[in-house]
Symmetry: C2
Subunit: 395 residues, 2 copies
């Protein structure tokens, strides 16, 4: 018998209930069926295999609408960061709501977005090394691309490559406003901008100034005060361009945690928030944000608890822990504990194998990067399964 012909049977198979005798066995109908990697639309979420990355579509759409309303209210453009969702489908939803383009952290993400017809694209991290310069040229040939640059040698290399290919690349000067990661010092922005403006393969478009270190400062007053220091650095860099007569058409800045502050600065033209579609348990502690959690990891209990801890099938390979432990959705009294690569524990619950639980990741970006697809749910039923097309595109 072909096992491939009966997926519906596998999908609808029900296990027997425990009988009174601990070892009795009850014969059931066939359980044959090939592995079914993705649930079909119409599947109740309680029949979705685990661990699964679940998106609450209603909550996602509310978050996207809130950001669109922010743009309307403030007059700022929104260029959402695709490094969070890595999905051209979510990108399209953002563009449909008025986003002016997408940010990508890596060239590989931008390639995926470009191939899906999504753009224009801002690559927010520096491009270095021969293989990537060649890929950037190829990407520029087929897409509108803007790249952040913080180094004169890099600028020259990019200009040479673009010029040799009869192309011109749009560039933002990447400015360090306090994160101490990439970016020139604010007082060096003008000199780098002038260099970029002089290079025939590049076109200076403005400044990128990202204050990533402030996004998760929980207290709103502290976050605002520290943002003000970053704003001063942004403005110093901006002045470095304008006093040289260089155009600074774009000032791109801010994440989900700071975009409301950035909107108060007239010089800011756009925000590059990424996490707002999904949020996470760490962002949930950041005061004053109007976005809600829409992303969970659905997990199953696989082993009876020892004491009050149930063992579940979601470990480090299913949930990133770089921002701490996930939260248990709707049950703040329960605590997730690490049990290794493949397992987690849920402390405070009396559960049996097969029971389900939903976890809110502590960091949406790195958790999304572990999955191949979103299981998109509305009212407890799978509505769609979306590939995470740029998952793993770290090059």
């Amino acid at each position: 018998m072909s096992t491939a012909s009966r997926p519906a049977t596998a999908r609808l198979w029900l296990p027997s209930r425990s009988s009174s005798s601990p070892c009795s066995s009850t014969s059931r109908r066939s359980t044959s069926g090939r592995p079914l990697p993705s649930p079909e639309p119409g599947t109740p979420v309680d029949r979705v295999d685990t661990p699964a990355l679940v998106v609450d579509l209603d909550a996602l759409e509310r978050n996207l609408d809130r950001m669109a309303a922010f743009a309307t209210r403030t007059g700022k453009r929104v260029r959402p960061h695709a490094k969070t969702h890595k999905s051209p489908l979510v990108a399209r939803m953002q563009l449909d709501r008025g986003a002016v383009g997408l940010c990508c952290a890596k060239l590989g993400e931008a390639e995926v977005m470009a191939d899906a017809g999504v753009g224009p694209l801002l690559i927010t991290t520096e491009i270095a090394g021969q293989p990537k310069v060649a890929r950037l040229v190829a990407l520029r040939r087929r897409a509108v691309v803007l790249v952040a640059v913080d180094d004169m040698d890099t600028a020259r290399t990019l200009s040479d490559a673009m010029r040799a290919a009869d192309l011109v690349l749009d560039v933002l000067v990447d400015v360090n406003v306090g994160q101490e990661r990439t970016g020139v010092a604010p007082d060096g922005a003008g000199e780098l901008a002038a260099c970029i403006a002089s290079l025939p393969g590049l076109r200076l478009r403005g400044i990128q100034a990202y204050e990533g270190h402030l996004q998760h400062v929980y207290a709103e007053a502290e976050r605002r005060a520290r943002w003000r220091e970053c704003a001063d650095r942004m403005l110093a860099a901006h002045e470095g361009l304008t006093k040289r007569g260089l155009d600074s058409e774009i000032l791109s800045t801010a994440g989900t945690g700071t975009c409301a502050f950035a909107a108060e600065l007239p010089e800011v033209t756009e925000v590059q928030a990424g996490s707002y579609p999904f949020m996470d348990s760490d962002y949930a502690q950041v005061e004053g944000l109007p976005y809600e959690s829409s992303l969970t990891v659905l997990a199953s209990v696989v082993s009876r608890q020892r004491g009050d801890t149930a063992v579940i099938d979601a470990g480090w390979k299913a949930l990133s822990t770089d921002a701490g432990m996930p939260a248990v959705k709707g049950r703040p009294e329960l605590e997730y504990v690490t049990k290794g690569d493949e397992h987690g524990g849920v402390r405070g619950a009396r559960m049996t194998p097969g029971e389900r639980i939903e976890l809110v990741p502590s960091h949406c970006d790195t958790t999304v990067n572990l999955y191949d697809e979103y299981v998109c749910v509305r009212a407890g039923v799978v509505e769609a399964v979306w590939p995470i097309a740029a998952r793993g595109r770290i090059q």
Copy 2:
């Protein structure tokens, strides 16, 4: 002009040197070319795009040979854990050297291995929930599978499902020997084994007893002493089966850090070590192991250092940090520091954009799970690119 027709040009493109003028631009030949996701055999490693997961094939083969020699010397079988490498190709190298089968952590890994003709397969974690039981039946239909079970209800469910499909599933009693994760208590092993033996869809084959909590106890004397306590629990469980007249043909135990101890116990039939092919910077601190590091993440500097820290293109999405920070290969004076999802820092180095560095992951399993392929290198040249076929198979 078609850009797809000239990948070789992209591959061989060289950037211009910096000239004496900081802003001069030198025209070069064409850099066109479509993205090239995988390096071709023959590519020098210093032209491989980054971040890349690199395997030193000589070191890998020496590690595999050492484990094969261990098996010959001790008379114990080796059933290597595929959750580390997730690659049927590495599995085949292990089988070619005498391994008796593979362990898989998840059903999804076992499906990938079975589809590649690799087996027999031991699934070392509990199977729970309807979707997985149906998938296990489908897998059992086409592969020799052995499953660890720690619960009578689960055993009955599996038996019912197998019986309904006219199949019999081989089962090991999973025993908790001190890790406090899955597994019955040692004094409950006999009762569960008797239950399993009575179920028509299951066949009792023996015991799994995994002391995962001891693998990374660095001091050899302490690791051995604590292993002895686990051994007593293993033997108690084993006696629980034998005193009931139940066969305990298999006693499967031990990881890379404890397999030498396990080999001293006559009752142990096999070890299920996983990390020995690759090792990692945490395992490197475990005393007394004969294996060497063969896995690195190749990364590039993307931004000039602030002070003595260079910023590289490998962050949390390229290197797991659940076991701590990676080490910098060959340069113990340098320190990796976290810079977020996409970036890391290397403290103690003066480097410029485009320069390369190799990092030894702190935890091989969770780092491998971030990549789609191994770039396999011998003597500085890419010899092969192997897909990590079971990456992300966490269900």
